[in-house]
C-alpha cells in the first residue's frame, strides 16, 4: 500500500479513537487520580481536536498532535483540582499530619510515627513498575491538592516558578505543600513497602 494514502486514512477523525484512544488513555491515567478522570480527558481531547483539526499542519504526526492537546487538558485538570473549593485543605496549618509531638516533647518525632530504618528496602530489589504502582496509591492517599502540586513538580518535572505562577501560590506555600507531600509519601511508601517484604 502506498504510504501516503495510508497516512491520509489514518488521520481521518473517525479513526482517532481506534488508533490512538488507548494510547491517550494510558498516557492520561498515569497522571490523574482516577480512571473516570482519564476517560473524560481522552474525550475532551478528541472533541477539541475535531474542532481544531483545521489548525493541524500535518507536519507532526497526528498522535503527537493529539498528545499535545491532551497535555494541555491535563494541565487544565490540575489547575481545576487546585482551585476547587472542595479540595481546600488547611495547607498553612503548622504541623505535618501528627508526625510530631505537641506536648512536653514539642516538635520531636512521635515514636510511632517516626521514620523506620529502610534497610529492608535494598535498592536492587526495587522493581520500577512496582514502585510506580505504590507511588500512585500513595499519591491518591494524599489530599488531592497536595498530590496535584507534587505531580506537577516531581512527575511532570515542571519548573517551580511556573507552578507557583500557574496556581497562584507563594514560594513559601509551595515549600509547605511539597513538605507535606513528601512526608506523607515517605510514610506511605514505608508502610506499603515494608509490609510486602
Amino acid at each position: 500500500m502506498a504510504q501516503s494514502s495510508k497516512k491520509a486514512v489514518d488521520n481521518e477523525p473517525q479513526n482517532w479513537l481506534d488508533d490512538h484512544g488507548d494510547y491517550l488513555y494510558n498516557y492520561a491515567v498515569s497522571r490523574v487520580s482516577s480512571r473516570e478522570a482519564a476517560e473524560d480527558l481522552v474525550q475532551e481531547t478528541l472533541l477539541a481536536a475535531l474542532k481544531n483539526y483545521s489548525s493541524f499542519d500535518g507536519k507532526s504526526n497526528i498522535r503527537t498532535w493529539l498528545t499535545g492537546i491532551l497535555r494541555h487538558k491535563i494541565m487544565d485538570h490540575y489547575r481545576q483540582i487546585y482551585k476547587s473549593d472542595k479540595n481546600k485543605v488547611d495547607i498553612e496549618s503548622g504541623n505535618v499530619d501528627d508526625f510530631f509531638d505537641q506536648g512536653v516533647n514539642k516538635g520531636r518525632w512521635r515514636p510511632e510515627r517516626a521514620p523506620k530504618a529502610w534497610s529492608e528496602w535494598p535498592d536492587k530489589s526495587i522493581n520500577q513498575k512496582e514502585f510506580m504502582k505504590i507511588l500512585g496509591e500513595c499519591l491518591n492517599d494524599l489530599p488531592e491538592r497536595i498530590a496535584t502540586v507534587f505531580r506537577m513538580s516531581q512527575l511532570e518535572d515542571m519548573d517551580t516558578k511556573i507552578i507557583c505562577k500557574d496556581l497562584k501560590i507563594s514560594a513559601t506555600n509551595y515549600w509547605v505543600i511539597m513538605h507535606r507531600a513528601r512526608s506523607g509519601l515517605r510514610r506511605c511508601l514505608e508502610m506499603l513497602w515494608l509490609d510486602k517484604s
Binding site: P13, Q14, W16, L17, G21, D22, Y23, Y25, N26, Y27, S30, R35, E39, V42, Q43, L46, L47, L50, N95, V96, F99, F100, K106, G107, R108, W109, A114, P115, K116, A117, W118, D123, I126, Q128, F131, M132, L135, Q154, L155, D157, T160, A171, Y174, W175, V176, M178, H179, R182, S183, L185, R186, L189, E190
Partner: protein, 101 residues
C-alpha cells in the same frame, strides 16, 4: 560511648530547632538552596538526631527513585497497557460520532 551520645543529643536539642522544623528544612533543600544558617542547623541537628538523619536519607532515596521513574515513564510503551474499557470506548465513540456528522 553511651554517655557521649546522650551528651550530643542534649546538645542538639539545645542548639538547633526541633525535628519538626528541621524536616521542613530538609524538604525545602530539595526545592531551593538553603541559607547558610539553615544549612548549618540541619547539619548539626542530624549529627545528634538519628530520626531526622533517616528522614533526610529517605527523601534522597525517594528523589532518585522518582528521577528514574520519570525517565522510564517518558519512554514507557503506552501501547502495551490495557487501554480504554469497552464502556468508555462506546461512550466516547458516540460523542465523537455526534460531532462528526
Amino acid at each position: 560511648m553511651k554517655i557521649k551520645m546522650k551528651f550530643i543529643k542534649t546538645f542538639t536539642d539545645l542548639v538547633t530547632p526541633p525535628c519538626e522544623d528541621i524536616t521542613r528544612l530538609i524538604s525545602k533543600s530539595q526545592d531551593t538552596e538553603l541559607t547558610l544558617k539553615e544549612k548549618w542547623q540541619v547539619r548539626i541537628h542530624i549529627i545528634g538526631c538519628k530520626l531526622c538523619h533517616r528522614y533526610q536519607e529517605q527523601l534522597q532515596k525517594m528523589n532518585s527513585l522518582l528521577k528514574k521513574t520519570r525517565k522510564i515513564s517518558n519512554k514507557e510503551d503506552l501501547e502495551k497497557k490495557e487501554g480504554l474499557s469497552p464502556e468508555a470506548y462506546k461512550k466516547i465513540k458516540s460523542k465523537i460520532d455526534k460531532n462528526i456528522s
